[in-house]
Amino acid sequence: MIHLLNIDLAAVDWARAQFALTAIYHWLFVPLTLGLAVVMGIMETQYYRTGQEFWKQTAKFWQRLFGINFAMGIATGLILEFEFGTNWSNYSYLVGDIFGAPLAVEGIVAFFMESTFVAVMFFGWNKVSKGFHLASTWLTGLGATISAWWILVANSWMQHPVGQAFNPETMRNEMTSFAEVALSPVAVDKFVHTVLSAWVLGAVFVVGVSSWYLLKQRHLEFARKSLRIGAVFGLISSAIIMLSGHHSAYTVAQTQPMKLAAMEALYKGGTDQSLTLIAGINPFAQPDYETQDEAPLKLAVPYALSFLATNDMNGYVPGIRDILDGYTKPDGTQEPSLEEKIERGRAAIAALAEYRKLSEKGKVNSEKFTAAMSDTATLNSTLSTLNSDISYFGYGFVQDRAQVVPYIPVCFYAFRVMVGGGCLFILLFLIILWKPKAWVYWVSIACIPISYIVSEAGWLVAEFGRQPWTIQDMLPTWVGVSQLGSSAVMITFFLFLILFTTLLAVEISIMCKSIKKGPEL
């Protein structure tokens, strides 16, 4: 008989908090690197085209800020991998075969491509040709972006595990198709949306820093031109991000309907669903999705959610209760209820245990040269049960309905911060291009920290929305975690808090000094 795992829940919470803390801090460095990579490329392209010293110094200034951020961000993501091995050992072991390839590619690309071209970009002025230098600057950005691709491929696989098969002998999810993993619809959407959001953040940063010079009446030509380029770059990125956002929501609706329902606080779904602009949801408590039909004080855009989720104004969108109780999809297929999924998950766990017992016995028999045909038949039948129910494996560890519903207030508000912030930036870029005034410069500066909050909110939507799954439907957090005491994780949580806060303070200090110094014009 299989007994469901019973561990110290506090350890799970601390391990989750630590991972969130590390990822959030790591993500403070990454988007500016990706955003400034394009900005410095544009500035240097201007230098290449015109040959004017002004553009060279402009490019060098933004490259300097890129360099500071790049140096501060280096290796902060590695800590996440340490956490996998220590805090999330079960998860780490199960996914090792899948993550190995993309992370290895990321490491090789990051090391060779970025380190080579970063050196040429910083040391190569007047030593290599203008064309080669320009290529190195763009390739530095491309290298960073390709690195992001592989990390996001790994993350996307957790949200939508494709191109793999579970091997009960090795207890690993093994890759069956690299292309399916690397080019899954979730990975493509996530990459496009994340990189574009990083570009918007980079544009807001450029606009904010340029505004500061304009308010200080320093480097006026540099500031005006950078402001304009930043605003155009931001506006183009924002226009594309709206399309990618729509497509991401569509993909989420297909692959993680519970995430979409939590983002929308949609308790009971149906056709012709409206998109909630705002509603009165208590930020500090899980709402009563079991009895309420909709969130109170809801202000919504008619049909917009149906369009977002299905590309059809009248499309069907399941709510939280529909997902828990089971529902019929538009194509006529039936989505099982939570109870059925739990049953199938438990069947998969039992089949796994049986398979491993028979397999072990088979190995012993084989060594003794004894035929064990009946065992082989049972083994095959057990394997067949396991394979048919493996996609519900994680539900076998679920004990009540509340466990599979993400924390709605975080998903709901983070989604609105992300979208609302994106709209604010579009407005800002438009006003800057139309009629920049002193108050707009102040708003631009204020938008720098806001852009980070908006960017992190996007991460919160993606990661809180998939709770409780470390691997969607296959491994809940409380099973993926190592059986460590919470105190061990708590100590490293605070160590990281100190380390990352110090790094951030050092970055902000160096960055501010560099900005105060200004371009060498």
Partner: protein, 69 residues
């Protein structure tokens, strides 16, 4: 061999003429030391390797997920 000399000079001159870069490299090295020497060795052991023998990892993970009663 000229290209090798050029590469050498690119890096050598680049490192010698660094100003802000020196501070950044110092930060990078301190950070790498903390991450790899202090955190990795003292706080982030490989949990599975520490709790099982080589070759028995699959059985260990299986038992971690499902404990026989």
């Amino acid at each position: 061999m000229k290209w090798l000399r050029n590469i050498w000079h690119l890096y050598y001159d680049g490192f010698c003429s660094m100003t802000l870069g020196r501070t950044l490299w110092a930060v990078i090295f301190i950070k790498l030391f903390i991450i790899f020497v202090i955190l990795k060795i003292f706080f982030f052991p490989n949990y599975i390797k520490e709790h099982t023998e080589e070759g028995k990892e699959a059985e260990f993970v299986f038992r971690e997920l499902t404990i026989d009663n």
